[in-house]
């Protein structure tokens, strides 16, 4: 009985902490201004990014060389994105009004991926410039 209680409470707190942690990563990414090239790649219009772009951005990230521990951030946000997809599937049917909030969160995830892609594009450019210099 105690084990069941601990399990249920732990799952609830795990979700709460994980969502807050992912949101802190998204908030932190918002400080970064995306370059023109990345905005074009992301198809960003009027400062808004579609949540559906996330998967495509993750695929593009995989094509660029990694400068540091950025990949871990994308992995964490990927889990959050999947969680949101699951929530959308369930809650759209039960509470349709929550769809707007979920979409805003998915946009946030896409923005994190865009920031990582932006940094990787900049890193690749520096690498190519260095190679051209030799």
């Amino acid at each position: 009985m105690i084990a069941v209680l601990i399990f249920v409470i732990s799952v609830v707190t795990l979700l709460q902490f994980f969502v807050s942690y992912s949101r802190s990563l998204i908030v932190e990414s918002r400080r970064h201004t995306l370059s023109g090239d990345t905005l074009q790649i992301c198809g960003m219009t009027a400062g808004k990014m579609a949540g559906d772009q996330f998967q495509r951005l993750v695929q593009l990230i995989a094509l660029c060389p990694e400068p540091g521990a950025e990949g871990r951030r994308v992995q964490t946000v990927s889990v959050y994105f999947k969680l949101l997809g699951f929530a959308r599937l369930i809650l759209n049917w039960a509470i349709p009004s929550v769809a707007r909030w979920i979409e805003a969160e998915r946009e946030g995830c896409a923005y994190v991926a865009a920031v990582v892609l932006d940094r990787r594009i900049a890193y690749t450019r520096v690498m190519m410039a260095e190679q051209a210099g030799h």
Binding site: A3, I6, I9, T13, F17, S20, V27, E28, G68
Partner: protein, 232 residues
């Protein structure tokens, strides 16, 4: 124990070692000593576990005893980390000393309650006590982290680094408390064995990320992390 287990064990050690290097490079030793202490203790425990597996074997009683006792030791180290985080949050209102005393009392109380629960269960096995203690310690860790997070929201704590450290601790404690509880309910479930290795990597990776990518003076309003936002 197959090659996957050995690879995961090695990967755990590698990730922890890299995290220590990152933390030392970011000069976190003086301000966050207990974080480095926990990572070093975890590396030492990992090395001893590996040597026991190599000499006595994975299914030996020696490994079983050491596994659970070292787990309790690491959980106590995590309590020290949590106390450090409490001290940072409550330093401005001068309640750090009270927090230390309270946490020590809670730790002793959890150990006593766990011992009582095992002693009344009929079979006085030390390993059973340690398993029960681990589950309870992780759960108390969840409660303490939740209280700390609540206090941070109430005090409008806005240090991003501190916020991410507390949240990553919450994820870790919740995941382990849940997995221990599930292990108690379904002891034959083997998937959790692999998942534990992955969960062990969570803290060093998240800490390394926080210290490398988040500046000491970075600020984020707790309301933005908790409440939904609609503007980009």
């Amino acid at each position: 124990m197959g090659p996957v287990d050995y690879s995961l064990l090695f990967l755990d050690l590698l990730v922890e070692f890299c995290a220590v290097v990152f933390l030392l490079k970011q000069r976190a030793l003086s301000k966050y000593f207990t974080l480095v202490l926990y990572l070093c203790a975890s590396i030492a425990v990992g090395l001893v576990r590996y040597s026991i597996i190599a000499t006595a074997g994975f299914s030996s009683g020696m490994y079983l005893y050491f596994y659970y006792f070292s787990d309790v030791l690491l959980t106590i180290c995590l309590y020290l980390v949590l106390m450090t985080l409490y001290s940072h949050v409550f330093s401005e209102i001068g309640a750090s000393r009270m927090v230390h005393i309270g946490a020590m009392l809670l730790l002793a109380g959890t150990a006593l309650i766990s011992y009582y629960m095992v002693s009344v269960s009929g079979y006085r096995l030390v390993t059973k006590f340690v398993m029960e203690l681990s589950q309870n310690l992780y759960f108390v860790g969840v409660v303490l982290t939740y209280l700390l997070w609540g206090a941070m929201m109430k005090l409008r704590e806005n240090r991003t680094r501190l916020m991410q450290l507390v949240l990553s601790m919450g994820v870790y404690f919740s995941a382990f408390a849940g997995s221990y509880a599930l292990g108690n309910m379904y002891p034959e479930l083997s998937v959790w064995h692999y998942l534990c290795h992955v969960m062990v990597m969570w803290l060093p990776i998240s800490w390394a990320y926080t210290f490398v990518k988040v500046a000491e003076d970075a600020r984020t309003a707790t309301a933005r992390v908790v409440a939904p936002t609609t503007t980009p």
